[in-house]
Each structure stands twice: as structure tokens, then as C-alpha cells.
């Protein structure tokens, strides 16, 4: 059965928002990058996935985001298996349930800031006017005081990442994932991004942050360490 695109309301489901069980993933004949990985991500919490470079942190994030097909194992959202669904179904889940913040903002340099923010609304069949209205509200909320028609090449890195945050939050997702989202930011911009993640969790969302920054990891509610020396989950 395909899971609902809408986040669950009321108290019907009390388990983890996202659960991965025995996930195996690798490219070609190489040994798997992710081998028999299991984890749970709950609503109302910020979870940090930490570990040294090359240990597969980002791969796990994209795996949770249904962007890659598992070799073995399963990914569940609200208790329903979703990793085996068709590409179109997984894409719809990404568009409706997930908000992504990438390491380098990943904005389209050929389009305006406003168009970048509302881009994902196209994949949700949301009206442009409604999306633009919500985008302006988010720009105010994150103190992005630049004209909406400005291009990404004309703004700072901190502003670009806050715009990427607006894009991720535009569809009011219940799962927010970030791949080293604060890695290249000044302390003030980094604090803004982290506060947004905290607020998302406080309002019942599930936030998952990949980081190698011990400060960010320490700030999270839960940590999943992929370091071979300190592997495990801590709260």
C-alpha cells in the first residue's frame, strides 16, 4: 500500500517518522558503502548523523530521502515501506514530505531568488501565486532583505543557504534533511539555519542533519555516529 502524501495527524501513529532497516547500498561490484544499517528518526527531534569524511554520511541521507534504490533492506515512513515504490511515487513523497538543504545551497544561478524558493512547488502542483506568497513570508522570517528578483550570483553564501532553507520549508514538510548545511557558513548564518531546524522539530517535525562539526552534533537531540571507533546512537 502506498503511504499517504500527507503527514499523519492526531495520534494514529506513534512510531518513528522514518525508519531504515538492514539497509545495504553500494555501486557496482564494490563493497557496499552502507552495509546492514538500521536507524530510527522520530518526530520532535533533531538527529545528527556524524562521522569522518567518506564514511557514507551523505549516502545515508540520500538513502533516507528515497533518492537511491537499496540493494537490500527497507525504508519506512510512518511505518509503511516506501523504498520499493516506483520512481514517480518516491518522487512525489520527496516533493510532499521532505525538505532538503544541500551543502552548497545548490541554487539555480539562472533564475531569481524567488523562483529558486518556489521551484519545488512545481513538483507538488502548488499554485505559483500561493507559493510566491509563502516564499515572501519565509524570506521575512529568515531576514533575507534582498529583492526577490535578484540572482544567486549576486548574494552572499549565508543568504544563499537561508534561501535554500526557505526552499526546503516552503512545502511545510514534516521531514527536514540537511547535508552539511552549515559547513560553509559564518556563525550567525549557521545559527539561523540551526534555529530553523530546532523550530521545525519543536513543531512536531523530524529533522535529520549530516555533519562532521562536533558543535552541531552536540547541539542535536540525538547523534548517530558512523565513526568506527565510536559507532552507535547517543542522546
Amino acid at each position: 500500500m502506498m503511504p499517504s502524501l500527507e503527514a499523519p495527524t492526531g495520534g494514529a501513529y506513534l512510531g518513528p517518522r522514518v525508519r531504515v532497516r538492514g539497509a545495504v547500498f553500494g555501486y557496482g561490484t564494490d563493497s557496499p558503502i552502507v552495509d546492514d544499517w538500521s536507524a530510527e528518526f522520530h518526530p520532535g527531534t533533531v538527529t545528527a548523523i556524524t562521522g569522518p569524511s567518506g564514511c557514507g554520511k551523505s549516502t545515508r541521507l540520500y538513502l533516507l530521502g528515497l533518492m537511491v534504490k537499496l540493494t537490500a533492506g527497507a525504508v519506512e515512513i510512518d511505518g509503511q515501506r516506501v523504498d520499493h515504490l516506483s520512481d514517480a511515487a518516491r518522487s512525489r513523497i520527496r516533493a510532499w514530505r521532505f525538505g532538503f538543504v544541500f551543502q552548497d545551497a545548490a541554487l539555480d544561478p539562472t533564475r531569481s531568488v524567488l523562483d529558486n524558493i518556489i521551484e519545488a512547488s512545481l513538483y507538488r502542483n502548488q499554485s505559483r501565486r500561493e507559493a510566491a506568497q509563502r516564499a515572501r513570508e519565509l524570506m521575512d522570517r529568515f531576514d533575507i532583505a534582498i529583492p526577490p528578483d535578484r540572482r544567486p550570483g549576486q548574494i552572499s553564501g549565508g543568504q544563499a543557504q537561508r534561501i535554500a532553507l526557505c526552499r526546503a520549508l516552503l512545502g511545510e514538510p514534516d521531514i527536514l534533511v540537511a547535508d552539511e548545511a552549515t559547513g560553509n557558513l559564518d556563525p550567525r548564518s549557521a545559527a539561523t539555519v540551526l534555529e530553523a531546524f530546532r523550530e521545525h522539530a519543536v513543531t512536531g517535525g523530524c529533522a535529520i542533519v549530516v555533519t562532521h562539526d562536533p558543535t552541531v552534533a552536540g547541539w542535536a537531540d540525538r547523534r548517530i555516529s558512523l565513526d568506527p571507533l565510536h559507532e552507535g546512537v547517543s542522546a
Binding site: 549516502t59 514517480a88 519545488a120
Partner: protein, 316 residues
Amino acid sequence: MDQQGTRTLVIQSTGDSPLLATQLVDTIATIPLVETVVGFGPVRDVTAAALPDGTRVGARLAYGVIGNVQATPRTPNEATVQLAWLSMQASRTLGLPPGAGTIRIIDGPEYTVAGVVTPPDYLQSFEPLVVIPTPADPHGKASLSTIVILAKSPEDVAFLGKTVAPLLSELPDENVSLSSSERLATLRQAIGGELTKQARVIVLAVLAISTAISLVIVWGFVLGRRKDLGRRRALGATRATIIALVVGQVALTAALASTMGALFCTATLSMLNTQIPRPSYVMAVVVGLTATAALAASVPATYAANRDPLHELRVP
């Protein structure tokens, strides 16, 4: 070859007096394969009325349509007014201004020049052309010595000849001849077929080369946009959306480019006074090129849609 009259049939009476009546022109004009038909009377010399000793030009009574001139009086009044139409060459030869002046048949009446007649290609051999519209012949009388028929297509000439021949059956064989451009038309068809074959090869070659070039360009375009496409996939775009995006952008660009190219070529051909291709042909070329570009784009678009977003987002 068309200027040589590959679509014409000519009926001629060779006796001392004209044998062809205007009713024959009217009958032939009703045949669906006929584009136009005109009858001419015997040639009579004319000069400019003011220069009776000036240069002489042959004038013909005419019945039917000659290029821009309806050489058929439409009302009884028109028939009584003595009017003539001169080609530019005829006016120059007679020393008259274009479309104006007065001419006189040697030892005959005067005619006011009512305008300029532009002889079509198949009547070029009649230049310098002076036509005097003649009314329909009364019953039992014939005023025409030559009837020129223009078929709609060279392919129709042979059949048209067989259709017209019975209409001449009551006229004496020895004094009436029907000649057609059938051999020229056959030759034209053969050459046309060869040209069509060559054109087809050229069009196919152009489409094949366009496809290959489009493929390379779009592939480069896709590789240059790997991160953009990866981001779109991560944000929720389906594979079909990515394919539609890439193919749509390429098709739109190709449609605009080929439309502009077609307009430019048409304008250039027009300025060079060369025959312009039919609009349907131009449209077919535009659609063909657009479809070719879209088809070529679908391969790299599918490649782009199936790339792993995880990899693409890591492109620096």
C-alpha cells in the same frame, strides 16, 4: 521548362479565315483540369494613333483571361467601347507611355489603351503583346484562330488533350491542329522526379546530420546541467518531468530557430526573385527539424533522468 510551356495545349486554325468560335473557349474553360484558357484572333498590325508611320506591332483580338486582364467584355457596353491592353514591351515599341495612349489598326479603327497586360510565361512568345477584347461570337460565326489552354499541372496535359480533341471533331481536320506540350511535360516529370529524389536525399541527410549535431549539443547541455537536474530530482521531480523538461526546452529552441531560419530563407529567396517553396513545405521542414531535435534530445534526456541525484549533486 515551365517557361517553355509544359502545361500548354494550343489549338490553331490554319485556313484563310478563323474557324474557332468563342463558345469553344467557354466550353474548354469548364473542364476541371484547365487552369485558364484564352482565344486569339488573327494578327492585325497596329501603330500608335499619333504616329501612323511609326513602328508596327501585331495586335490580336482576344477572348478569355490573359494574366491580369479579363479579355472578355462583361457587358454589352464594354463591347462597344474600343479598348486595348498593351504589354510594357508593346508600349515601348509603339512609343507610348505604359498603359495609356491610343492605337490604330492599319486602315481600321482606333482603340484607347485601357491598361497594361502582363503576359504570363506561357504567352511570352506573343510579345510584344497587344490585345483587344472581343465579344462572344454570334451563332454560326468564328473569330478566333488560336486557342491557348493552360493545364493545372504538367501531368494533366496528356489527358486534357484527349478531352479537348473530341470538341474539335466538327471542324475540318486539315485546317485545325491541336498541339500539346506532352513530350515536354513528360520530360519535366522525369526531371522533377529526379529532383524530388535528390531533394529527398538532401533532406534526409540534413535531418540525419541535424540529429547527430543535436544529440552532441544536448548531451553537452545535459552534462553541463548535471547539478541542476540532480537538484530537481532531489526536490521531487520525477524522471518523466526531467525528460519533459529537457526535450521541451530543446524542442522550443529548435522550433524558434527553424521558424526564424525558414522566414529568413523565404525573405532571401523573395529578394533574389527565386521561386519560394509552398507554405506547407516550409511548415513541414520546421516541424521535421523540431521533431528531429526533440527526438535527438530524448536520448540524453533519458540519460539525465536516470542519473543518480546523489552523484549529480556532488558535481563541483
